[in-house]
């Protein structure tokens, strides 16, 4: 029996989520000054010790990462890549077809690749990805409504976002060949992980 893509807790942060990285060093204002308030050191408010600033939970993107992401994205046909990524999701992980019972013929890889609804939906999904790339510093806000939609109306297990993200990276690799360097891949693996996390954030 093949190993399903089960969620195993890793040593690398919470399941499905990136480890928050402070943008410019520790943002736990006051904490660095010591937890033990001595007499006369009263300038730091005790409450400030316990509240991280919003930036401490934001994902940090280096200039290089942003550049690697943008340079690949600039050369991507959203329609083609989107269609291909979604088609591959349905082919490589056939159980994902459960969400698309009204898409018509999904009976073979050829049928899936040629299916106009798959192509259209793939384009829609990747267009939304483009929005993420324009708003790397506010992914949570960008995906807030979509997250609620995927939970409340579409009932999609967030694991599917991770599967699609990995597939997208493989599609880009096939498309760009050697230009899809290890640095490029690392930036994009981070991006798809963070997008998946943002999409899962409003689940309840």
């Amino acid at each position: 029996m093949t190993t399903p893509h089960c969620r195993v807790t890793t040593a690398w942060g919470p399941p499905g989520g990136p480890v928050p990285v402070p943008a410019n060093g520790p943002r736990w204002a006051g904490l660095a000054q010591g937890i033990k308030p001595g007499p006369g050191s009263g300038s730091a408010q005790p409450r400030a010790l316990l509240q991280p600033s919003r930036a401490a939970t934001m994902v940090h993107w280096s200039a290089e990462e942003k550049q690697l992401i943008a340079s690949v994205w600039g050369r991507v046909s959203v329609e083609e890549c989107g269609a291909e990524a979604l088609a591959r999701l349905l082919i490589v992980y056939p159980w994902t077809q459960r969400f698309f019972s009204d898409f018509g013929n999904l009976s073979s890889p050829t049928a899936i690749v040629g299916n106009p609804k798959v192509r259209a939906h793939g384009k829609k999904v990747l267009t939304s990805f483009g929005e993420a790339i324009k708003n790397l510093d506010n992914l949570k806000g960008t995906y807030s409504k979509l997250s609620e939609l995927h939970c409340d109306k579409l009932h999609v297990d967030p694991e599917n976002f991770r599967l699609l993200g990995d597939i997208l990276v493989v599609v880009l690799a096939a498309h760009f060949g050697k230009d899809f360097t290890p640095d490029c891949q690392a930036a994009w693996q981070k991006l798809v992980r963070v997008v998946a996390h943002a999409l899962a954030r409003k689940y309840h």
């Binding site: 093949t2 690398w12 591959r88 490589v92 890889p109 899936i112 690799a173 096939a174 498309h175 060949g177």
Partner: protein, 141 residues
């Protein structure tokens, strides 16, 4: 489960590597260390600089094992039995990492094969790596 078609595609795909197994293995490993930094925790003794001999050497070893598996798709459990013991009792690599290697190997193959890394090949390789991971983790507990 690997179908007859999957097996054929796997053998064809490996055939296309034309002796570049060492390079493919090294590239996949390097990508894995780069995209999934925690995987480096299993190699604290390695020189992790680009082009490191240790990374190349280990990549070659990993690929050789996978190539052997591709030659023995009808009996993966037996072909990988020793490696399964090794991973269960010595290496004890958390199985989640097998997925990371699978992803990076697929990216490496895709960069080399381009359009030839078709959805069908993609599916076969993904299933294969999943089966290999299963066998390697079989004796963990």
């Amino acid at each position: 489960m690997l179908t007859g078609e999957d097996k054929k595609l796997l053998q064809q795909t490996w055939g296309k590597l034309g002796g570049a197994e060492e390079e493919v293995g090294a590239d996949a490993l390097w990508r894995m260390f780069h995209s999934y930094p925690p995987t480096k925790t299993y190699f604290p003794h390695f020189d992790m600089s680009q082009g490191s001999d240790q990374v190349r050497g280990h990549g070659k070893k990993v690929m050789a094992a996978l190539s052997n598996a591709v030659k023995n798709l009808d009996n993966l459990s037996q072909a990988l039995s020793e490696l399964s013991n090794l991973h269960a009792y010595n290496l004890r690599v958390d199985p989640v990492n097998f997925k990371f290697l699978s992803q990076c190997l697929q990216v490496t193959l895709a960069t080399r094969l381009g359009k030839e890394y078709s959805p069908e090949v993609h599916s076969a390789v993904d299933k294969f790596m999943s089966a290999v991971a299963s066998v390697l983790a079989e004796k963990y507990r």
